[in-house]
Symmetry: none
Subunit: 222 residues, 4 copies
DNA sequence: GATGAATGAGCGTTCATTCAT
DNA sequence: AATGAATGAACGCTCATTCAT
């Protein structure tokens, strides 16, 4: 895959200066993933990141207005990448059932191997998304950010999979609710499995979560 | 209901000094709900709360170690109250189907009227829970807090409704996953309806959310 | 010894209410020794002490104006007790050499056994004196406290041993300097032995310190 | 001396950012000496220092982690400077007796004139060292700081003078104890002379202290 | 006399940000 | 364009102390 040189393009709304355009920018992205994963988004600061990349924190401000924007960038990257994987996984497959199944698999499983994109560790990123992405849109200025298109990539993924749902059952009324429930539910159940086991019925990384949500979706489409 | 004098008892693990035991304590609870609702939990600080209740922030520390503990207290109060409402709503009803339906209704609808408990505004509290409660257990020390029983009340609610599920279908493998998906899903869809409408298919406060999750649950139990 | 009922009388300047006159007062003394020993005088506060003795911190203020006064009280108790031991150890001994030797031994050795005074743990107290007593008189208001007689007990001990020195060599010009150097030096060397070994030539609790200061004193009196 | 441009180099362990490298840093050092001297180390805070230098306290944190580190820096500077003076005073002198005498003089006398180093007032600094330096190593984390080399400069001075002692009497067992007793003793006797005269036999700044400790050392080496 | 409740003041610290280079 | 230096503002927290009972 590496030699295909697929590049994930991030909307220019999501940064002040494109981090993909410079060595420093790429370092910011790659190390912020490591750091957020390590200490959690709450404790993550530009100062700490600056220290980690041996660069003054003020330099980071050239790329991102604040740590929140950086998180939005990361989630956006993640969803663009998921979109790309969805296309890749469903292309040339006739049966919508099959396509839907494969899509749910992609949406509900955490990444286990880091392989495709140079400076981004997808395993860590996926863990961040599963546990912290909710903070990206749970803020006082969601509305304004949403208007600016900050969540486009996520919305597009939900839309794409919803379309398969509609393909199977054009009359279905709640395709987006269905898919976003799957996505967010899978994130949460993963977290519960690790930290609050009494709220779930599985251990982390088992197939139970995928099974549960797959069944849930297909129940609706019968 | 008011003259029934039902009192919600909160586990002493969840505070340093019982806020229900003094005028100041009750003020802390009642005004913190107002303030968190207004400015969001992120921006909420003891200093601001102190100003609002005309009291020094240091006094608040006598009751709660930090703002996080206060949030945990509020969510715990909320879930104890929901538990009480669940009992009340399902008592004397034979049919488990009926009990389950009523339970899902309670879990998925936001409170519209503030009536029963003196100094607590349940409408605002319910809004806080729907949009901020996730932050109560998404922290670096979930595990330790869970051990200390901080999330007992929530877990008990999930357990109670899971039991009805099992009554209907004793062989069902994922009752907790099912119910926690309903609860968390309803919270999120409400939020989406208000802020990220493209991730859902409804407007806020419509019955769509309850309908969706009710159908979802019963699909599994057929 | 216990049945001799020797009681150490502390000057009333050193407390607001005599701690020896009530159960609570004795608890304050006995537990403050334990607590200061455990966490150090710097981190010691009336609040923590209050918690330890299950009493409100405000009660402690009845006995002592502040934590500093309490430390002064403890050191005063210690020196009164040392005075008593000096008398006891030198009584009926003719030779001033012998008396001086025994005195130096008492001044330079830490207590190993707790035996005589009911609610006071002399072992811990002696450790506190060795490592923290300096803080009792290194303050901005030494002068005023000294005028009020807060350090009488310590001064009396120095005076008593200086008198033996003068007995041996009436012309000696610096008896007080000599004895206070011995006392403070022994405290410090003990501390160095434990924490800054490169500033001394011995390990903790060896006889080297007593030997060194004994030789030092007798060198001057030849 | 000024035109010799001797510079005292402080180990980089002892600061976060070298205060000698900027105007602000030098101001921090020079004014902290004035302020500690005036109000005592106990009452000294970064906030007060910030006000004195018309700078926000947060700026000071760029240089020193906390007020304790700053004190350690000052003592370290002092001992490096003393080391330099010792070298200067003993160089080219044959007789170890003579060198030892001169060394003891330097160790036991407070500085009377501020002459050599630009922004540092040695008179005030020496007074601080005499009365407050003990607090630099009487803390809960001496051991860790000692490991990090925070007290190197002091240890080196003790070592240097101990070596002269050993030169005169190679068999002597306690050279470090001897010299550290001289240093710490002189500090204390000075303090006593000013504040607790009954513990000494001299007034401040007389030659008695130097005489006493000189005699004490030479008594041992006979 | 002892206690519980409450508070004001201030400390140490960090963050996000700006300015000058 | 990237960086280093500096800062204002606020946060979380604790202490010593007072007041009312």
């Amino acid at each position: 895959m590496q030699n295909l040189h697929i590049q994930i393009e991030i909307d220019s709304e999501l940064y002040s200066k494109n981090p993909d355009s410079s060595e420093l920018g790429r370092k910011i992205i790659s190390k912020s993933i490591v750091l957020i994963h390590e200490i959690g988004f709450e404790n993550f600061t530009f100062r700490k990141l600056g220290k980690l990349i041996n660069s003054n924190e003020s330099s980071i401000y050239r790329y991102f207005e604040n740590k929140h924007t950086l998180l939005v960038y990361l989630t956006s990257w993640y969803w663009s990448w998921i979109a790309y994987r969805l296309v890749f996984a469903t292309t040339n497959i006739e049966s919508p059932e099959e396509r839907l199944k494969k899509s749910i698999l992609i949406l509900t499983q955490q990444i286990k191997e880091d392989n495709s994109f140079g400076y981004i560790n997808e395993v860590l990123l996926s863990e961040i998304i599963f546990s912290e992405s909710i903070k990206a849109y749970h803020t006082k200025n969601v509305d304004e950010e949403n208007k600016r298109g900050c969540f486009k990539a996520y919305i597009a993924v939900v839309q794409r999979v919803s379309n398969i749902v509609l393909e199977m059952k054009p009359s279905y009324k709640y395709p987006h609710m269905l898919i976003s429930t799957v996505i967010e539910g899978a994130h949460q159940q993963n977290y519960f499995a690790e930290h609050l086991p009494k709220l779930t019925d599985t251990s982390k990384d088992s197939e139970a979560i995928t099974d549960f949500y797959t069944e849930m979706v297909f129940n609706f489409l019968k």
